[in-house]
């Protein structure tokens, strides 16, 4: 059995790895095509669409030069996205972790009911609230403001859920010992618990950051003022049936992926932890 076993293992190995290499190539083709097209003039994109032809005669750095020196709002959008993402992530993590601690550390009247509300938010498609939420924002005079984008998501249900799962694994003795030392409930949270939460905060920072950086629909509805546009909205507006903005669109798309790729490569572990933890158990 030994020999045939290793032989069939060898064949299976070739098959599996071969399959994954093929999948890898398929997944990478769009990235490769965008990278390639960012060196081609816009007309070529209009005429031929995205393709894989390496045509050195028409390829140049013109789009990149235009991206960095041309007259357009690209870097305004980029900057807006950056600020919005940072503020949104910091506030969301701060509030969500605070709330999650309440759920994880205490037993109190109404806890189960409130936690069901958390789960409910995770099950109701946000999109159904677009219209009433928009009219609420309108009534509050918050149209065109970043707070209208930030506030509704500040107690993020999925993030609360994740933190709560994480906090439940922290021994209650830590909290007790804090109390014995005479610390009040909030000092215990801020001084003893928050430092322990660092890895989970990092995971959620990255995941929330990615969502915020890429968010399109709600910011698109809220923001009317062009100077406040974020990157996804800006890129979307470049694609009009009339305008000929393909040069900027393609190089801008390519450039917009780069920061998040770098972030991903630097913090892979946290991305993956954030994606998978809290997903199943509970």
């Amino acid at each position: 059995m030994g020999r045939s076993q290793t032989r069939s293992d060898f064949i299976s190995r070739i098959v599996i790895i071969g399959l994954f290499i093929i999948l890898f190539v398929i997944i990478m083709i769009p990235f490769y095509a965008v990278a390639l097209s960012s060196f081609k003039p816009g007309e070529s994109l209009v005429r031929y669409g995205l393709n894989l032809s390496l045509d050195f005669e028409i390829m140049s750095f013109d789009n990149f030069i235009f991206l960095f020196t041309g007259e357009h709002d690209y870097f305004v959008w980029f900057w807006n996205s950056m600020i919005l993402t940072i503020v949104q992530v910091v506030l969301t993590l701060f509030v969500s972790a605070f709330v999650a601690y309440g759920f994880a550390a205490y037993d109190f009247k109404g806890k189960n009911f409130l936690f069901i509300c958390v789960l409910l938010i995770m099950m109701v498609p946000f999109e159904i609230l677009l219209v009433p939420l928009y009219s609420l924002i309108n009534d509050l005079g918050m149209v065109n403001s970043y707070s209208a984008i930030i506030l509704p998501g500040i107690a993020n249900a999925a993030t609360i859920f994740f933190f709560r799962q994480y906090l439940r694994s922290i021994p209650k003795e830590i909290i007790q010992s804090g109390r014995v030392d005479g610390a009040n409930e909030y000092a215990i949270y801020f001084r003893l618990i928050m430092p322990i939460m660092k890895p989970s905060l990092a995971a959620m920072a990255i995941l929330n950051g990615m969502n915020s950086w890429n968010n399109l629909l709600w910011p698109f509805m809220v923001l009317g003022d062009q100077s406040k546009y974020t990157l996804p909205i800006g890129l979307k507006t470049l694609l009009t049936p009339y305008g000929n903005n393909y040069d900027l669109l393609i190089v801008g798309s390519f450039f917009s992926i780069i920061p998040i790729f770098i972030l991903f490569i630097a913090f892979q572990k946290y991305f993956i932890d954030g994606m998978t933890a809290g997903a199943v158990k509970g």
């Binding site: 393709n51 109190f108 609420l136 009040n184």
Partner: protein, 298 residues
Amino acid sequence: MIKKFVYSQKVAPYVFVLPFILIFLMFWFFPLVNSFIMSFQDRMLGQDPKWIGEANYSKLLTDKVFLISIKNSVVYMLGTLVLLIPFPMLFAVMINSKLMMGREFFKSSFFLPALTSVAVAGTIFRLTFGEMEGSLMNSFLGLFGVEPIKFLKDGNWSMAALLILACWRWTGVNMLYYLSGLKSIDNEYYEAASIDGASAWQKFRMITMPLMKPTTVYVTTISVYAGLAMFTESLMMFNGNKSPQNIGLTIVGYLYRQGIEQNKLGYAAAVGIILLVIAMVINLTQLKFSGMFKKEED
């Protein structure tokens, strides 16, 4: 006095969860109730609402465009279920097997598409599925002698394009969910099965699949949710909310068209409520049949 009250161990938990209560009431509960009320009204932004009973709903049931949007959303959702559950599960098992090499590399590179925004991914795929002979998909099909296809003008082809976009973005993510599910399976089951002479397929059927049921239930739940709520992908693919004969119109797209583009808030709210009901019914049925409610508390 106040300080003592807020600092007491009885009150502290409420202080901790207070931000959630406020946000929930203001940005979820209130809009949801409002949406329900609006759905019985004839209402426009900045005008006094008029109560019209269930007229919006009865109108929706005979609204052909709305029915098209439901069909598109449901087909899309079913498509993502068929494509984005079994394959990622299989890939996860393969990548987890001892025969695999370069595990970390494949894991991270499969995740990369999820990092792109819908704006970028939609743009990429819009151009990939361009109708010209030279664009990516058509030139690929050209290799097999297939005539150029007008992907974004034909209902079936554009649905295929949307599904391919979904597969490209989410296969890696779902694979990660399954990988984390696999981690919790005790190796002893497989060892015992090997002693009994079970084949790889039998192990997969009898051990892996049943033990990964919680993951499958989770992935199904979020896929139903995301599939029914899809809108931005179609918005980017068709460069707007208008597609030829509404082939790319989804339920949320219709909600957006009625509520935001045409300011028919009441009618749009009714669309939202119907979407909520569809999503809830499908997911609760799914959870019931998979026995999730019978699981232990907590």
